[in-house]
Point group: C2
Chain length 245, copies 2
C-alpha cells in the first residue's frame, strides 16, 4: 500500500468544515474522498490533520490516504484538479513513509485570522475577513497576547463542554501585524481546542476595543470559564496556514 | 440641486455589468439607484463613467447624481453601506460642481487585468484572476504592448460592429508586472471601445504563449479586422482601477 500526503487549500465559505459528517453534508473531506475513490476504484479514507469549523478556510491543510493505485503523483494531481470543485485545490501530493499519519504526527499548527478595520467593507475580501470598522489598540492586544503564550489550561477558550480530556495546550507564539486596514493575528501552538483560536481572537479584539485590559486576560485564563472570555470571532476570518510535523 | 460624486468598488461576478438594462436585470447602476431613490424619496438617475461588461469588477468606479436631499454626505455613505449588497461598496461621496459629469468629463481610465500563471488555480482569487497555467514570455509581451501604445485605429480590438463612430483611441501606457504567479497588465487610455481591454489582453497573452510575435500585433492593428486579433480574455480578470478627470 502506498501512503500519500496532500497539501490542500480550500475556501471554506460554503462547507460544513473539513470532517465528513452525514452523507449529504457538504464537507471538504467528503469532496476529496469522492474524487479519490472515483480515481482509484477503491473506497478511499482520507485522514486530515484536524477538524475545521464550518466556514473556516485553509492555505495549507495536510491530509494523507492509503491506496494500491499505481498512478503517478503528477497524474493524481491533474485528476484532482480536474474533478474537485473550484474552491478546493490540492497543491501537492507526495509518497511518504507508511508510518506518516496526518493527525497523530502533528507537532504544531499555525492559524491566521484576518480583520478588516476600515470603516467600510472590502468588497473583494468580504468572504475572508472579519469586518470591525474601528481601529484597534495594537499595543494592548500584543500585551494581552503575551499572557496567552506558553502552556496553560485553555478551558475558558473553548466551547467544548464537560469533557474529561485535558484542556491544557501550549501556544508558541502570537504575532499581530497591521498592513493598512488589514490586521493579521497569527497563532502557533501544539494543539487547539474546539473554537479556541476564534475565542482567543474574539478576546484580543475586545482588548483592542478597550473593553478588556491585558490583565483581564490573565483573570479569564485563571477562571477557566468560557463565559469570562470574549465572543467567538466569525469563522470567515480564520485560515489554517501551516502544519508542522 | 446638489451634484454628488461617488467612488464605488464592486465585485462584478454576479452582475450584468454597470449599466441598467431591463428592469429585472441585476446591474450595479440598478442597485445603487434603488438605494439612493429609497433614501431621498426622489427618482434618482446615476450617471456612470462608462459601461462595464458583465462580470467585470471595479476598484474605483466613478459616478454622479443630482438630488434635492439635504442629507450630509457622511449620512449618505452610511445609508448606502447599510442597504447595498455586500459586493458593492461606495467608498466616498462628495459634493461637486454642478458641471461635473462622470462620463463626459473623463480624461482617461486605468484598467488592470490579472492572470494566474501557476499550474493550479488559486482558490481564493479564482473569481478575480484568469487562470492560464503556463509561464508567459514577458519580454515579448512588453514589446507587443509598445506597438499598441499611442493613437491608433483599434477596430481590430473591439467586438463593436458596423458603427459609424470613430474607432481611434489613444493608449497612454501599458504596464506588465509579474509578482510570483500573478501577472498584472495595467492599461491606461483616453477611452476604450467595447471589449477593447479584454481583446488587447487576449492578444498579449497569445504573444506571451508564443502563438503571435510582437510584429504580428502591428499587422493586426493595420488589418482593422476583429478576427485577426487574439481571443476575448475572461471578464473576471478585469478591474476598472481608476478614472482620471
Amino acid at each position: 500500500m502506498r501512503n500519500l500526503k496532500m497539501t490542500i487549500a480550500f475556501d471554506g465559505s460554503k462547507y460544513k468544515g473539513w470532517q465528513k459528517q452525514k452523507d449529504n453534508d457538504l464537507t471538504i473531506q467528503g469532496k476529496i474522498e469522492a474524487v479519490l475513490s472515483k480515481m482509484t476504484g477503491e473506497d478511499i479514507q482520507v485522514v486530515g490533520c484536524g477538524r475545521t469549523d464550518s466556514g473556516v478556510h485553509a492555505e495549507n491543510y495536510i491530509a494523507n490516504f492509503h491506496t494500491k493505485s499505481t498512478f503517478s503523483t503528477s497524474r493524481m494531481l491533474d485528476y484532482l484538479y480536474e474533478y474537485l470543485p473550484e474552491d478546493i485545490g490540492v497543491k501537492s501530493i507526495d509518497d511518504v513513509a507508511e508510518r506518516f499519519h496526518a493527525r497523530y504526527n502533528v507537532k504544531s499548527k499555525t492559524y491566521v485570522y484576518r480583520v478588516n478595520t476600515h470603516k467600510f467593507r472590502d468588497v473583494f475580501n468580504r468572504k475572508y475577513t472579519y469586518h470591525i470598522a474601528e481601529k484597534l489598540n495594537l499595543v494592548e492586544m500584543k500585551k494581552a497576547s503575551e499572557v496567552l503564550v506558553g502552556s496553560h489550561d485553555f478551558k475558558s477558550f473553548t466551547n467544548l463542554r464537560n469533557s474529561d480530556k485535558s484542556t491544557i495546550r501550549t501556544i508558541n507564539y502570537i504575532n499581530i501585524i497591521e498592513k493598512k486596514d488589514l490586521l493579521e493575528i497569527e497563532v502557533n501552538g501544539n494543539g487547539f481546542l474546539w473554537n479556541m483560536v476564534r475565542i482567543i481572537v474574539g478576546t484580543l479584539i475586545e482588548v483592542g476595543k478597550g473593553n478588556l485590559k491585558p490583565v483581564d486576560v490573565e483573570t479569564i485564563l485563571n477562571e477557566k470559564k468560557r463565559w469570562e472570555a470574549g465572543p467567538l470571532a466569525q469563522a470567515k476570518g480564520l485560515f489554517l496556514r501551516d502544519v508542522q510535523y
